[in-house]
């Protein structure tokens, strides 16, 4: 007798839970196998010298692994698409968090360098010239360190030549 509604739409008053698709056991084994293989791969790759690409490779492998977990173990594939929306939009906001923070950090020196200032002040207000850029290539200068006031007589790691 009772009419029932889900999310504003009238439905048949079924007291059974809706039919659930049960994935075959083989799928779980395949995903599990793939995760193990990828774990071995990421460890193996870490011993190879890929230089700058190693981080990217490690992250790609991690993303592939998590995609497997999310799609098949967490059943995002085939489930309510709202969940996919929630999950992906969360990642967008993580991206905003990273992106805008690094938008600051990575450009801390931009204006100073443009104007030819390459030092920073210590706590006494004296300007300490930076003798050498930290790591040769740009973008690696320790921006966070620039806030620092290294104590005198103790050059900061950036000031010391590395490698």
């Amino acid at each position: 007798m009772a009419t029932t509604y889900i999310r504003g739409k009238q439905v048949e008053p079924e007291m059974e839970a809706p039919h659930h698709d049960v994935a075959p056991m083989s799928l779980y084994w395949k995903v599990f196998g793939a995760l193990l293989v990828l774990t071995c791969l990421t460890v193996a790759v870490s011993y190879a010298d890929l230089g700058k690409a190693s981080l990217a490779v490690a992250m790609v492998v991690a993303v592939v692994k998590s995609t497997f977990v999310v799609m098949y173990f967490m059943h995002l594939k085939g489930d309510d698409r709202t969940f996919t929306f929630i999950f992906l939009s969360t990642l967008v906001f993580v991206g905003i968090f990273f992106g805008l923070t690094f938008a600051d950090l990575s450009t801390r020196d931009a204006v100073n360098s443009e104007w030819g200032y390459h030092g920073w002040a210590n706590e006494k207000g004296q300007i300490i010239e930076r003798t050498a850029p930290a790591h040769g290539e740009g973008g690696h200068e320790a921006a966070a360190g620039h806030e620092a006031a290294p104590t005198e007589g103790h050059p900061s790691p950036e000031a010391a030549p590395t490698h």
């Binding site: 968090f97 938008a103 620092a148």
Partner: protein, 566 residues
């Protein structure tokens, strides 16, 4: 005034008896403390947030009185000490603690939970036509987390002392000997409460809507609550981790925020404002929702630009995550980031302005009745617009460098938070008081008080704009003589404001017991909460209501009786 303008799941209409209301359903302290009824939890929140509002407000009055004169005097009498220098230092210390407690309580214990947790809890399921929120037990848990968290903060500041301001900026907060760890624990717990409330509301709106309650038939208050919840979900976890990092920095000295160890104190501000800027929209968005309801119902006119208002709430929620750097223009972030954030800040003004214009357009040719809620609604339009526009001043990079950390900022956020959120909250309470308590508040006294509050509020904060532009810095207990006049006006205004708010609290309390019986729909509202009895029955509606029109359909309301039940 029609007694029943909405036909619906009314006890009186469908049955010949009125069921006991949620208040009468069960009695005793235990029945309230362990209730999972969203309406009772909403009322408990209402009582709690108002308690904290009055505590924090009293503190504000105390240091406003101190600021009446340029030099320290009042606070000197409140502290003891062996010699004049010691008394002086202690008084300054007390001043720091007072404004920290005022800010901390107002932000975390009052404004953040104010409208969503009290009015939101009460009316969200009612307006959706649901029996309760999706997770009633979680709802109660989040109330207790809130109470525990707020108590910890009060203890931390009163018992142990905290003088960092509500922002906990490093490096001071990592080095000061005061109770930062305890206070952050309290805020952390309140953050959990906020997350759970937001989670509950989002799921409720998605999954508990009554038949026919499509997204475009949802009252705008719910859209605002939805947008608020999205921010609570996405931003508050970052606050949790920020506070965890801060505590770890204090206890372990990890060095992420410590320049002497290779860290960066500005990083703390990035982390902090990633939460706290969106959090100001947690504070103001529900107020937008309340105003949408008040303006439409009390001018008996279909809201102008329903979709524009609804979508702009969501737009504000998203854009609010892109602008946090405007709090850091002068704190050492890069020039590039400052310009970027300044630009993005202007973007948030667009959806906000869309709302204000829509409300004004709703008023146009409406049949406005100047009831107390409406007076608060109009007051909101006035004060919030000032608050919002001065926000544009502060978002402009060059202007902000001059105005940063002055009373201009203080005045700006009080115009937004107090002139916006608190005024809307007052309006909302009056608007829904008959529904919540089944009693009317005294209308004439209500109108008088709203005028007192309007005068007091503007007298308190408008002079602060002027003092700020002339360079009066915030957070100082003393000042040079040239600012005396502004502080005098401000203090007088704050006393008027305090009196106004106090009278409101008294007459509301009295009206709970002695007020005139309210009808089920005293304002002729068309949304679902008016379709049940006043106060609502325990399960909100006798039967799941059925919706086939939108909630602002006033002119046809008597004829097409659009809300029924199956």
């Amino acid at each position: 005034m029609a007694t029943t303008t909405v036909e619906g799941a009314l006890a009186g209409a469908a049955h010949d008896h009125r069921e006991p209301s949620y208040i009468q359903a069960s009695s005793g302290l235990k029945a309230w403390l362990f209730t999972i009824d969203h309406k009772r939890i909403g009322m408990m929140y209402l009582a709690s947030v108002w308690t904290f509002f009055f505590i924090a407000g009293a503190l504000a009055l105390l240091f406003r009185l101190e600021l009446l004169t340029p030099n320290l005097d009042l606070l000197l009498h409140l502290v003891g000490g062996e010699n004049a220098a010691m008394i002086h230092a202690k008084a300054l210390d007390l001043y720091n603690k007072l404004f920290t407690l005022h800010g901390g309580l107002m932000v975390f214990a009052f404004i953040v939970p104010s409208i969503p947790a009290s009015l939101g809890n009460f009316f969200l399921p009612l307006m959706l036509g649901a029996k309760d929120v999706a997770f009633p037990k979680l709802n109660l848990a989040s109330y207790y987390l809130y109470v525990i968290g707020a108590s910890v903060v009060v203890y931390a500041i009163l018992g142990a002392g905290l003088d960092t301001g509500w922002t906990f900026y490093t490096p001071y907060s990592t080095t000061t000997g005061t109770a930062v760890t305890t206070a952050t624990l309290g805020v952390f717990i309140m953050g959990f409460s906020s997350i759970l409330t937001g989670l509950n509301f989002i799921v409720t709106i998605h999954k508990m809507r009554a038949p026919g309650m499509t997204w475009n038939r949802m009252p705008l208050f719910l859209w605002a609550i939805y947008a608020t919840s999205v921010i609570q979900i996405l931003a508050t976890p970052v606050l949790a981790i920020t506070l965890l990092l801060l505590v770890m920095e204090r206890t372990l000295g990890i060095g992420i925020f410590d320049p002497a160890m290779g860290g960066d104190p500005v990083l703390f501000q990035h982390f902090f404002w990633f939460y706290s800027h969106p959090a100001v929209y947690i504070m103001i968005l529900p107020a937008f929702g309340v105003i949408s309801e008040i303006i439409a119902v009390h001018s008996k006119k279909h809201i102008f630009g329903y979709w524009a208002i609804a979508i702009s709430s969501v737009a504000i929620a998203i854009i609010s995550f892109l602008v946090w750097g405007h709090h850091m223009f002068v704190s050492g972030q890069s020039e590039f980031a400052a310009v970027l954030f300044s630009f993005l800040t202007f973007a948030v003004a667009v959806p906000t302005a869309i709302k204000v214009f829509s409300w004004v357009a709703t008023l146009y040719k409406g049949s406005i009745s100047f009831t107390t809620p409406m007076l608060y609604g109009l007051m909101f339009l006035f004060t919030f617009t000032i608050g919002g526009l001065t926000g544009i001043f502060l978002g402009a990079l060059a202007v902000d460098v001059h105005l940063h950390d002055t009373y201009f900022v203080v005045a700006h956020f009080h115009y937004v938070m107090m002139g916006g959120t608190v005024v809307a909250f007052l309006g909302g309470i009056h608007h829904w008081w008959p529904k919540m308590t089944g009693r009317m508040y005294p209308e004439t006294l209500g109108k008088i008080c709203s005028v007192i509050i309007f005068i007091g509020f503007n007298l308190t904060f408008f002079p602060q704009f002027i003092a700020g532009t002339q360079g009066m810095p915030r957070r100082y207990a003393t000042y040079v003589d040239q600012y005396t006049i502004y502080h005098e006006l401000s203090t007088v205004g704050s006393l008027i404001l305090g009196v106004g708010l106090f009278i409101v609290a008294i007459y509301l309390l009295v009206s709970m017991f002695k007020g005139k019986q309210a009808s089920d729909n005293p304002w002729g509202g068309a949304s679902l909460e008016w379709a049940t009895q006043s106060p609502p029955i325990e399960h909100n509606f006798h039967d799941t209501p059925h919706v086939d029109t939108d909630p602002y359909n006033f002119p046809n309301i008597d004829r097409s009786a659009s809300i029924g039940h199956h």
